[in-house]
Amino acid sequence: MIVYILCFALLLVGIYGALTKKDLIKIILSLGIMGYSVNLMIILFAYKKDAGYAILVKDAVSTNMVDPLPQALILTSIVIELGITAMLVALAIRLFEKYKTFDITKIRRLSG
Amino acid sequence: MTLQNRSRLFVFIFSFLVWLALTSIRDLEEVVAGLLVAALVSAIAGKFLITSEKSEHIIKRIFSAIKYLFKFLWEMVKANLHVAYIVINPYLPINPGIVKIKTKLTKDSALTVLTNSITLTPGTLTVDINPEKKEIYIHWIDVLSKDVEKNTKSIGGKFEKLLTEVFE
């Protein structure tokens, strides 16, 4: 039970960072922390007590395996996060070119 | 045979051997696939491995390499004991600093092995290298002197002679 609570705490750390930090790069890192905490949580959902890894091995019969599906889901979501992070970094670089700063409080041409 | 093609041939042979080690020869499929993969790897990344001609014969160089290995291990044991002595000494007699040494080696690979050997030896750590001036900058835990020639002899000199035989 404690691991789920710790995962949730990590998620909250990420949300806190994404909402309060002023630096673009720190915001991107916070989003990464959020994503990792959720990935960790879903991997933990697959855990089964005293279970082996879910790989078919030659000449070995394993009946008790962990759930392999969340691993596939996590691989997909990691790829998605990679893409989004690259996108955010590219946007941050472009913003730096335009505004000469990474400080989000100074990037305020849009209002209202 | 040009240098690049020789490099490709070497990469091909090495790749094939490594592939056989990875897959542990089970059936013909794996061996055929290994030949194809080795050809592919040598086509993509083959031209990097060998970039310069060596003067000595290959057998002689292998002997020198083995000799160098033992020499290096011996130096490492000595340096280990020295550093261990410094660590357990209650007065901690250290005098850290960065020193410059000269080297006579010319080949890239020789320089790399020399600097990595210096880094692996406890007490010394390569910080930077200037290949044009043949200078290596080293962080030393116990700087004994500020003389470049003397330092060259005590840090790099012990490896240099054998490395010349291996790589030049």
Binding site: M41, L73, R94, G112 | -
Partner: protein, 493 residues
């Protein structure tokens, strides 16, 4: 067999565009328009052949609990028709507009656009909840890039804000999917719906809260609306039309309705939340819009308000309310896209979005100002345009369901909408500024896109005529009302 092609065609078009187009964007335009026309034809054909049936497509020859399935029923086909219709007009509008804002590399726009269409079609067609997440991310990813496509500082700023908010909401949705999977051990939506009543009912509330926040942010319902005005007003005009017209519906409203009605079984507590949030969105959106002088920003705030009507209609959860909401989905897509095209055409030719700097547009841009008149009347709810009927149905349904308070706020919101669009017409298109006639006018593609949508604004009122309604809107309402019927239809038991 039609269903997978709705996803394959735009995806293939996207990659072929990156492969074959060089410096010029001619091939990209041809390919993407061909792809979207075929998509629209497929969607229309399957919408009219579906009726009250449900067809399942199982991927890669496996059977349902093991595979990703695509579900074809009246609701998903209805949404697909809307998406591909707006995509077609948006592409027609894009050709000149994108050449205007980006001199080189315009083919990238079409590749991203096809990815956006792929994502939305996938979200609508899929019957697997994780696959839904993946397609949603494809759509959002291309949207982030498209919002920033113009390369101005404001656009990067808006895209960054949008991307940060979008990532947060996606993470919450992923967490919700994970919790749902751990509770039910399946990802097929119909199976989840079948298993949910047998387990602890608390799970539904936790997951519902996560999904409400996540998809609510995508739909820009009131407390989660902050990103919308920036992103929708900064994007290039055809993309604003896609975002406001269909993206927030496909990714937000459609998915919410699927999950909360067909999977969770339309719980009363979520219906109440929908009604309250919808009403708040109507009022706050329209009040914020009233004070705007930036044309596109005003339209973006109206999107919040109009989405409020749709959410209110779904929250009422009686057949009439859902009918109104479903009808308003189509109507809002039509007139909001049209209004964004008008704004884009004005911005391209006059170089301004400020209503105070416009004037005597009826002389300069006759087609634009005439179609904007149609769209304004339509969004403000004037008969005989389509907006009137859908809003009327929602308001009548609110009274019928015993919520006269919500009906009152909806009427008030409609009046404010009228006021705000009278401002647009009075100061913007029929303003007093005397502006010289510019050299270039709207191109043929732009004009035809606007005229098509203006005609559809009028024609789509006919959907409410009983004979036509029974083959178009009623099957959609049946799918949504027939909550747990989704399970039997999909699983075939």
């Amino acid at each position: 067999m039609i269903l997978p092609f709705l996803i394959i065609i735009p995806l293939l078009a996207a990659f072929l565009i990156t492969l074959i187009s060089g410096e010029k964007d001619n091939w990209a335009i041809v390919l993407s328009i061909l792809a979207v026309i075929s998509l629209l034809a497929l969607a229309l054909f399957s919408f009219f052949t579906t009726g009250n049936d449900t067809f399942i497509y199982e991927m890669s020859g496996w059977k349902i609990p093991l595979t990703i399935c695509l579900v074809q029923d009246a609701f998903s086909m209805y949404m697909l028709v809307i998406v591909n219709l707006i995509a077609l007009t948006s592409l027609m509008f894009s050709v000149t507009y994108i050449r205007h804002i980006a001199a080189e590399g315009a083919w990238k726009y079409y590749a991203l656009f096809m990815l956006l269409v792929t994502g939305m079609n996938g979200v609508i067609a899929t019957g697997d909840i994780f696959n839904l997440f993946v397609f949603m991310e494809i759509a959002l990813f291309s949207t982030y890039a498209l919002v920033a496509f113009g390369g101005k500082a404001e656009e990067y700023e808006a895209a960054f804000k949008y991307a940060v908010m979008g990532s947060i909401s996606s993470t919450l949705i992923l967490l919700g999917i994970g919790v749902l999977y751990s509770a039910t051990s399946t990802l097929t939506m119909a199976n989840i719906a079948a298993i949910l009543p047998t387990i602890n009912p608390q799970v539904v509330f936790w997951v519902g809260a996560l999904f409400l926040a996540g998809f609510g942010l995508k739909a820009a319902i009131m407390p989660f609306h902050a990103w919308l005005p920036d992103a929708h007003s900064s994007a290039p005009a055809p993309i604003s039309a896609m975002l406001s017209g269909v993206l927030i519906k496909a990714l937000g409203v459609y998915v919410m309705v699927r999950i909360f009605f067909n999977i969770f079984g339309g719980l009363a507590v979520f219906n109440t939340i929908f009604m309250v949030l919808g009403t708040v969105s109507i009022m706050i959106g329209v009040l914020l819009a009233l004070g705007q002088w930036d044309f596109k920003r005003l339209l973006a705030y109206h999107s919040i308000s109009q989405i409020g009507y749709i959410i209110l209609g779904f929250g009422l959860a009686n057949p009439l309310g859902i009918l109104g909401a479903v009808f308003h989905l189509l109507n809002h897509a039509l007139f909001k896209s049209l209004l964004f095209y008008n704004a884009g055409s004005v911005e391209m030719i006059l170089g301004t979005r400020n209503l105070k700097k416009m004037g005597n547009m009826t002389k300069i841009l006759p087609v634009t100002s005439f179609t904007s008149m149609v769209a304004s009347l339509s969004i403000a709810g004037m008969p005989p345009f389509n907006g009137f009927f859908s809003k009327l149905i929602i308001i009548v349904a609110a009274i019928q369901a015993g919520h006269p308070v919500f009906a009152f706020w909806a009427v008030l919101g409609s009046l404010f909408t009228l006021a705000s669009f009278m401002k647009v017409q009075r100061y913007g298109f029929r303003g007093e500024n005397k502006i010289e006639k510019p050299d270039v006018g709207a191109s043929r593609g732009m004009k035809s896109a606007m005229i098509i949508l203006a005609v559809l604004c009028l024609v789509s009122s006919a959907l409410i005529i009983p004979g036509i309604r029974e083959v178009t809107l009623d099957p959609v309402v049946t799918v949504i009302m027939n909550k747990t019927g989704y399970i039997h239809e999909v699983l075939g038991r």
